[in-house]
Symmetry: C2
DNA sequence: GCCGGATCTTGTAGCGATTTATATCACTCA
DNA sequence: TGAGTGATATAAATCGCTACAAGATCCGGC
């Protein structure tokens, strides 16, 4: 703290106190250039900085270096329980490396997405983590064109050569289907998530492929427009109109699974007695629900943290082998799935 | 985009294209100074800026103005389901006014809190929203000393004169207790949240006061160290050792209530048949739980949004009457509370 | 026809950091 | 002895924007 004026302490105040040039102070306080200053000088400067309560003005350093030590994160909606853990993974990892995180919700709306990106560009972010990617994504294309370091998380794009941390959706869906078949289910339906998202698309594809492989009916699929409870509800009802002889549902994600269960209850159907349900993501509190939802668990925190590490490596020019890191999900069996019973 | 070099477009590029001085461009593009430039000039400049894909370098403007159009937000932990909605309220409101939000998790740890604040200071935040306040809070004191615009949300401090948006805890607890008494409960216990937090403290105080007023036993209180499921679990067990004749529990918040229910199940007690439980906050999915948790609902999104509006008013020097905005909570009765039965 | 004032635009000087080039040593060694 | 060499420190320029002072332009009015 500068005791005379109200002005914030700057590098020049520190320099004055020590009796050196301010550029020397800059060097001494910067990890990368510290070694060009004599150790005792560094110590003196650090002491003085401490005493004056100096902290760097990041705007000034950003302006000069064109490097902000800030990362952008684009998510659909923070209130969707998948994201808080991913974001904590990102924030914890980023902060440990001295980076600040700017988060924006896009609600899967291209205008909001564009606005958020513009704001982030204005703030000279050093890199971007995108959890909102569509399979064809113009924003991702733009980042690549501009050369902005970019990592995808959760959702991927169709084009190759973009780094990201995603889930082995095939593995998860196969585990779910095997579990259901093991319980005797032979007629299984899928409430698919939006197909513009790789998660929705790949889960539906895995569903079809795996059932086909087992010579089972693979076209009991109804497509939702969003990954929400409401869309799960609506889509399930639609499915029921088409066909009501299935005994199990694989939902595109957990919130949609909850919507399905709501719709079932509304129709007087019971879960799991009449229909078994499997979700996806393993969001919080699922084990406490009624019924406790069987689901495919994905390592959310780890995904955020890995994506951030990846991004920081790209920013720092560290060579990396893996482009697309595919995390292993894990089926968690709870009470929303049960052996099929003759009706 | 500047087509010749790889450099970002600046106001000078725009100025050059239009054939005016760059300071004119700055004026024309700034809402506050736009009226000092002729309308047709403004239009020409805007057109040129658009054409060149110009967007302002916020670091430069921050450096010059000592104003970042960024707000800091301090929360305990994003993965605690109370916060996502509060934060969305903050973000949506802030973004609508052109502000960016920097969020940091403190895990109720003073070191992390201090680090986060230092980072935010370095980024020259224009104001701070604190959801981590302790009743005696040195960080809050520091902000006030420094004159940094500050608004509390959810938790308040003991000292007067600090703006904030909080909940009328007394009202909520009274509603919960009245509900329980109405169901015939005469021996009610409280699993209190940490007393350093105004929420924990005021809820416990309201509990004592209201029961005393009704000439009921008011000291069946056990204090938890954190607002977590685990602490709810531990504290409930502790309470049970002390006294096992209560028929209802008012928990400090929802997560602690869930911990209580876990502990009850572990002890072979049923909720609500043996013991009724009331939570607080109304976090997501409570209505789907088993049993569905009766709780006190607080307007989370609205609180975030109001706090932000308050903060922006302070920043902009708008006079405000209310210092401490007290939101009305609402009891939501579900199936974790039931009439008391003779045992 | 020229002055006073309103209206618009220009010029310039930083904001606080980093960075490149330059200066100043203190030594070594031919 | 004096040029060469590291090792440190200094000077000065710069990042892009805004604010303040000053200049240019135009107009009506006496």
């Amino acid at each position: 703290m500068n005791y005379l004026t109200n002005r914030k302490t700057t590098i020049r105040d520190v320099a004055e106190l020590v009796g050196v040039h301010h550029s020397t102070v800059s060097r001494a306080l910067n990890p990368g250039t510290k070694d060009r200053i004599s150790p005792e000088m560094v110590r003196k400067i650090e002491k003085a900085a401490e005493k004056l309560g100096y902290f760097p003005n990041i705007a000034a350093s950003t302006l000069k270096q064109n490097r902000s030590f800030a990362l952008g994160v684009l998510i659909p909606d923070l209130t969707n329980p998948v994201f808080p853990l991913i974001i904590r993974g990102i924030q914890d990892t980023a902060e440990a490396e001295g980076y600040t995180v700017l988060t924006a919700n896009t609600d899967d709306d291209e205008t909001k997405e564009h606005d958020a990106f513009k704001m982030m560009s204005g703030r000279s972010i050093d890199g971007l983590i995108v959890a909102t990617a569509r399979r064809q994504d113009s924003l991702v294309d733009e980042c690549i064109k501009r050369g902005l370091p970019l990592v995808l998380v959760n959702r991927r794009v169709d084009r190759e050569g973009v780094s990201g941390v995603i889930v082995d959706e095939d593995f998860g869906i196969c585990a779910a289907l095997d579990h259901l078949m093991h319980l005797g289910h032979r007629k299984i339906a899928h409430i698919a998530g939006p197909q513009y998202s790789s998660t929705g698309y790949e889960r539906a594809k895995a569903f079809r492929d795996h059932l086909t492989l087992h010579n089972m009916e693979a076209d009991l699929i109804e497509y939702a427009d969003k990954f929400t409870v409401e869309e799960g509800y609506r889509t399930f009802k639609q499915l029921l109109v088409r066909d009501n002889r299935f005994t199990a549902i694989v939902a595109g994600n957990d919130t949609m699974a909850l919507g399905c269960i709501d719709a079932m209850h509304k129709q007087g159907l019971r879960c799991p007695e009449d229909i078994s349900v499997v979700g996806n993501n393993d969001i919080i509190f699922l084990s406490r629900m009624n019924p406790a939802l069987t689901t495919i668990s994905i390592p959310k925190y780890e995904m955020g943290s890995q994506a951030t590490r990846m991004l920081l490596d790209i920013i720092n020019g560290v060579p990396r082998e893996t482009m697309l890191l595919r995390m292993q999900p894990r089926l968690i069996v709870r009470s929303s799935t049960a052996p099929v019973v003759a009706r």
